[in-house]
Symmetry: C2
Subunit: 346 residues, 2 copies
Amino acid sequence: VAWLEEELLEQPEALRRFLERRTDDVRGFASSLLEGRDVRYLLIASRGSSSNAARYAQYLLGGANRLPAAFAAPSLYTLYEDSPRLDGALAVGISQSGRSPDVTSVIEEARRQGRPTLAITNNEDSPLGRAAELVLPLEAGEERAVAATKTYLNSLAAVALLSAALADDDERLQQLQRIPERVGHQLERSFEDADRVDRYREVSGATVVARGMCYGTAFEIALKIRELSGLLVEAYSPADLLHGPIAGIAPGWPVLVVAPSGPTLESVREIVSHVRARGARVLAISDDAPLLRQVDTPLPLVHGVPEWLAPLVAVVPGQVTALRLATLRGLDLDRPAGLTKVTLTR
Amino acid sequence: VAWLEEELLEQPEALRRFLERRTDDVRGFASSLLEGRDVRYLLIASRGSSSNAARYAQYLLGGANRLPAAFAAPSLYTLYEDSPRLDGALAVGISQSGRSPDVTSVIEEARRQGRPTLAITNNEDSPLGRAAELVLPLEAGEERAVAATKTYLNSLAAVALLSAALADDDERLQQLQRIPERVGHQLERSFEDADRVDRYREVSGATVVARGMCYGTAFEIALKIRELSGLLVEAYSPADLLHGPIAGIAPGWPVLVVAPSGPTLESVREIVSHVRARGARVLAISDDAPLLRQVDTPLPLVHGVPEWLAPLVAVVPGQVTALRLATLRGLDLDRPAGLTKVTLTR
């Protein structure tokens, strides 16, 4: 069995471990991140899968905590002479390895400027972990496959935990504790449905579409399929797609929508009509029965997951699809051609 | 002649008109945007080409004015219950038409919260123009082709003018005044070189890569080719590409790098080696002679443009390439299939 598949299946356990070990901790330090620190917004530094967890943070903390998020432009910290003044920022670095110099540079600069800094990483004893004032370890255990799975899911859990702890919201903290079990059920369900994507084995790429909480999920699914199969997979919000890029959707092109029930469902339903009108084949990750019936390839979500936690479950059918397509194509699941586990960019 | 081609050629004149009419104005109001308003960061709302001008603003104002930028997630303002608290924000809406409801919603909310708001639009008398406290009209004249050209370039000029005025930097204001002439020379040069891309007429897509000031230029060139030709064109920074998505670069795939001289050139040069190792064909928009000699298809930039203004010139070879490829493919330049000039998204 490939590490990738093992790590995929380990996700419920890794999530449970993270929540058991870190919930009290985060409840303890959450208030210290904001109180007396004049925090107006989050500044997030990340790359790769961690940037998709950052996208979740933008929506979740923007709505539930009413805290806007900015994504750092690392080259302003590493290549250009003057880096931004960070008054008002709570700086958060997200990195599985904690070793990417550009992400660390942003956190170092924020700390130099006296701002509160938090590292979310699977490796406490890393340059990023050492640079930040506070560290939230991901507790995912060693991840050996190049493509991130359990570290990604635990990064989402870290964001969810941080949001609920900052809001001191007991109901949400309880909902979060039930997520490992839902992820377990979703894995079972998605492995049962895996062969539904076999008809797409010869495609050259796909477009993944989602909005709001699951916007980052679309990017993560696109990245996972792309990393494992070398296909040209991209992600868009429905609104961004309509502002021009929809021109690239040709007849037969697969469009995968991520559409959990909630405020963004209608917007995703509309984009399905638009891409269908262009002849696209549509796959849907959803718990909405009418939408699932309407598309070419339904990839059902388990029920009973609150919308704010949907990204932790909705990525699973995408991960399983990525695994399936790469397997059908006879590729090395653990070491995709030309990629390395730790990428050091400045 | 297509409107698109007319409007492309009108760009130097449209830029000159904008600078003549608006320089004093912006110098006058710039300080009022910040003074006494407790501004810590920019919050930018935009879609489509305007989002690529927003990317320029993130780098230019982040470096030259040391002001960080966040991109608004419009669905937080239109679909979700609670929108972010905007203490510390200077909210900027960028929209050619001024009519996209989601962009307007962000500016309305910022104004409700008592924040300073600025609309950058080609249509003062639009919902966006009316929502903001201050309006900076683009003065581009009517744009009839669906794909934005002169309104995009004038949006970049608006960002550049705002940055130089906020810094009260006379030298930069003078450099900006010389840009319309440089754009004119670049248009001449790029039309002379246009047939260099004819060998790419049968491609199904491309990847455009740039970093720093020209990061948004990569997205704008990708969007322009995609809108006009329906090809699958995408954009990445070199660092983001290395963190996984490079897996999608197959042998023969065209990679266009935007690489003006300056702090990001080395980083772009490195990515050229990486994608070449994967068998990509490389095109380069650059004024660096060694890089131009090294690639399959050189698209030279005129000399003498300071790096902070490079995006206003570096997009031109991309626009001309987009026009050329669509012409070779026999497509309607002014009304690409399925697109509309004004896109109303919520």
